[in-house]
Amino acid sequence: MNLALAQLTWRQHRAVLITGLAWTLLVSGCLLAISDTSSLAGPVETVTIGGPTVLTLLVGLFLAAPLLPREYEQGTYVFAWSQDVTASRWLRLKVGYLLSAVLLMSVLISALHDLRASPVSHPFSMPMFEGFAPVQVAYVAFAFALGLALGALTRRTLLAMGLTLVGFLVVRAFVAAVCRRFYLPPLHAANLEVMPRDSTAVGIQFGAGPHGIAGVDYQPNDRVPSFQWIETGLFLTLAAGLLVLAWWLVRRREVR
Amino acid sequence: MGDQAEDLLAGSSISAEDLLAGSSTSTAVTVERLAKRYRGGVWALDDCTLSVPSGRVAALVGMNGAGKTTLLSIMAGLLRPTSGEVRLREGGERVSLVAQDRPLYRSFTPAEMLMAGRQLNEVWDQERAVRWLRRFDIPLDRPCGKLSGGQQAQVSFAVALGARPSLLLLDEPLANLDPLARREVTRELLAEVVDGDMTVLMSTHVIAELVGVADYLLLLARGRLLLDGDVDELLAAHRHYSGPRAQAPLLFGEVVQAKHVGSTSTYLVRADPEHPPVVEEPWTVRPATLEDLVVAHLESSRAVAA
């Protein structure tokens, strides 16, 4: 029975899965083909950040968001959920298969990226910070869970897709722009000159001082790995919460 | 009905004057050598020629896959025929189609569906459409997607009638309706035909639905016209003759179907209704029902094809 559901899942979602796989292979191929990353910093950045991001949006928008609304809109949930498999079990199995598949793709696409990224840019922002494979995998899990939950909530395909897109981008931008620099309390220096070399300014207080700077908050660059793991944990927690929400919404409407 | 029979006879050979006059003897729509081939090589219509007299309720009868929906879609301008042509009455027919799957915008309320109909048409009779919805107690403010199948069908009828069609095409119109609603819908439709100078062409494969509704029959089989004519006249022309087992009945007329059970033979014969063949004992005559007639023609056509 489980296997039968795996076949059904494949049959329903094969177009998106094949597209995702093709994209993964294409991006990986590009990254492997580029031997000299330094002279091609621009294109490499485009591929290394664009590649995983497109995969993430594909998963959230075209795989997760329509998953439930399509069943509701086409009335097929009546068929799908009146079989021996209950609705919540149907959801658990489907999510299990699909999430494993897309996480595998994400691991492949971002692991190669890790090997290839050029270490020239700002350590706390794109593409250095977010290129870290676990972070990318957590983004994919989050996008999937967000799409699924919004689909369960709205039960309308296009609306769920639109909200997933907006929600994903807003949360990502908000975390990157506002939250990230304060994962750990920043250190303080009197001005830019005395700030340690391997660190990144995250806030400047203007006032009386040389060049009008009264103080600098900064994060040492050796904190980047722990920050990356914190961000991974944050998005995985969000994803888990959204998956539970989706499961609860479907279960609530379950007849049996 | 007698007048209509004459109309029909006249209608079989229409003159140009008739067409220009747009009189009741004209045809609402004529289809000539129409063929439609779908991708994959299936011929849904194959050299189909027929015409629908105006001001009548015509039934398009055929088994599943006979080409009914294809024919209606082509008449409505939704499908392009592979070859052949559809000719509407001179001066233009206003064609409305109520498609089989009752296409409605799921998020629209019935009131909004009427609004959409008003915007898409140059002629629109809001009162007529609303009247139809009220008559069948359809809530005007619930999304169509949340209505029952029968209610959705009623909204489709209302939108189609609001466009004041002169040719109303109904694809399996009664399929989703309960017996009571079915009876009411047919009664109201007939009233609208009388009021509105409208021709109705309705497709069905349930012959029982037609009795008392359709007065003209078009029988379709494998994409071709098998039989057409005024229903009363067809019924008058067809009779069952039963008698001792025989290879052929000793009378004049076209034998549509022959059945031999035990020592008895039964023939369905089509003959001139004015001068029905007279038979002698031990042969007996009984009238044929519409269903007998349709089934017999379909079976004999299948035998010919095989």
């Binding site: 177009a15 597209t19 000299d36 330094s38 002279s39 485009t46 497109v54 594909l58 075209f62 329509p66 700002h122 922002s125 395909t157 296009l158 609306l159 897709m161 639109g162 897109l165 907006v166 981008l169 722009a177 830019l192 060049h211 009008g212 700077i213 | 879609s73 082509i74 409505a76 301008g77 939704l78 499908l79 392009r80 025929p81 559809v86 206003r94 064609v95 409305s96 189609l97 498609a99 799957d101 296409p103 409605l104 915008y105 799921r106 629209f108 909004e112 609004m115 959409a116 109909g117 915007q119 898409l120 048409n121 140059e122 002629v123 489709s156 939108v159 466009a163």
Partner: protein, 310 residues
């Protein structure tokens, strides 16, 4: 038709409009911030000029102007254009919509006109809202960073992108007749077209070349006329054939010495002079509009072909 168009697309239109509204407010707000810094740097001493003081904001603005705004324009294609015809086919409602007095092509014409007009209006207003900021950024740019955070014809490009995306969506929907695949095709097609436009943005006319001899690892862009846009930088060997900067020299402590040692006496910058920048960018926007016209025609033909003539 206005009511019907609005009724069917209002959620998408409102959602996208809110996005453009937020973007416009943000751009106006940023214009104020940039203005303050530029003005105060003009009066007092700023460490390394306004370009440095605004480093973080400029990085954010670059991604907003180059990624977020075109992304919003893509939404018009994906959520307005792609479902326009595809949803009608998918939900079979074309059987209703196209059998009324208004022919299918008139239905399509009216809908694309209203929605296309709305797309032009939204992106045009956003482009207007961006004007003060773009003027301010010109002043920052003149400060010497050499990197302009936005194309000169940003507003025109945004309008052209929105119209192109919308046309692409409509045509894709008419072609595949299924909403989700049409949306995916639109998104991918838009991405490809945008990437190509940005790459070719300055190449519609042959660029001017400035030679550096001896070669420099990082060209000093301040020598170019103010307001120029860099098309490409590179290195030349003695024979004048283009060479890539070797890894050896990239990691070398003194690339200026390393380059001649490896047989690279010259480096160059290809650029469009300021008086041509606007022209070449407008040509790019024009190409997008021509493509859009072709896609509209394709959609029109596909819809017309799917219904009987007359």
């Amino acid at each position: 038709m206005l009511w019907l168009t609005w009724r069917q697309h209002r959620v998408a239109v409102i959602g996208t409009a809110l996005g453009f509204l937020a973007l416009s407010i943000y751009l106006l707000n940023c214009s104020g911030q940039v203005g303050e810094v530029v003005d105060s740097c003009a009066q007092h001493d700023c460490q390394a000029g306004p370009g440095f003081a605004l480093t973080e904001l400029l990085a954010t603005l670059r991604s907003v102007l180059w990624v977020i705004a075109p992304g919003l324009a893509a939404l018009i294609g994906v959520f307005w254009g792609a479902p326009l015809v595809a949803r009608e086919f998918e939900q079979r409602t074309h059987q209703f919509a196209w059998t009324q007095d208004r022919s299918a092509t008139r239905w399509l014409g009216a809908k694309t006109a209203w929605l296309g007009g709305a797309a032009v209006l939204l992106t045009g207003l956003t482009g207007l809202a961006a004007q003060p900021l773009l003027h301010r950024l010109d002043q920052v740019d003149a400060g010497g960073s050499g990197l302009h955070p936005a194309p000169t014809a940003w507003a025109q490009m945004l309008v052209a992108l929105a119209v192109f995306g919308f046309a692409l969506g409509v045509a894709a929907g008419a072609l595949v007749r299924r909403t989700l695949p049409a949306m995916a095709i639109t998104a991918v097609g838009f991405l490809g077209a945008y990437a190509a436009t940005m790459r070719l943005r300055l190449s519609w006319l042959p660029p001017e070349r400035h030679l550096f001899s001896p070669a420099t690892a990082a060209p000093d862009l301040a020598v170019l006329p103010r307001g120029s846009e860099v098309v490409e930088t590179g290195y030349l060997d003695a024979a004048g054939t283009p060479k890539r900067l070797t890894e050896v020299c990239f990691y070398s402590a003194a690339p200026e010495d390393c380059l001649p040692q490896h047989g690279i006496p010259h480096s160059y910058v290809d650029y469009q002079p300021p008086d041509r920048v606007l022209l070449v960018e407008l040509v790019g926007a024009g190409v997008l509009l021509v493509l859009a016209a072709g896609l509209f025609a394709l959609a029109w033909y596909l819809v017309r072909r799917s219904v009987q003539v007359g």
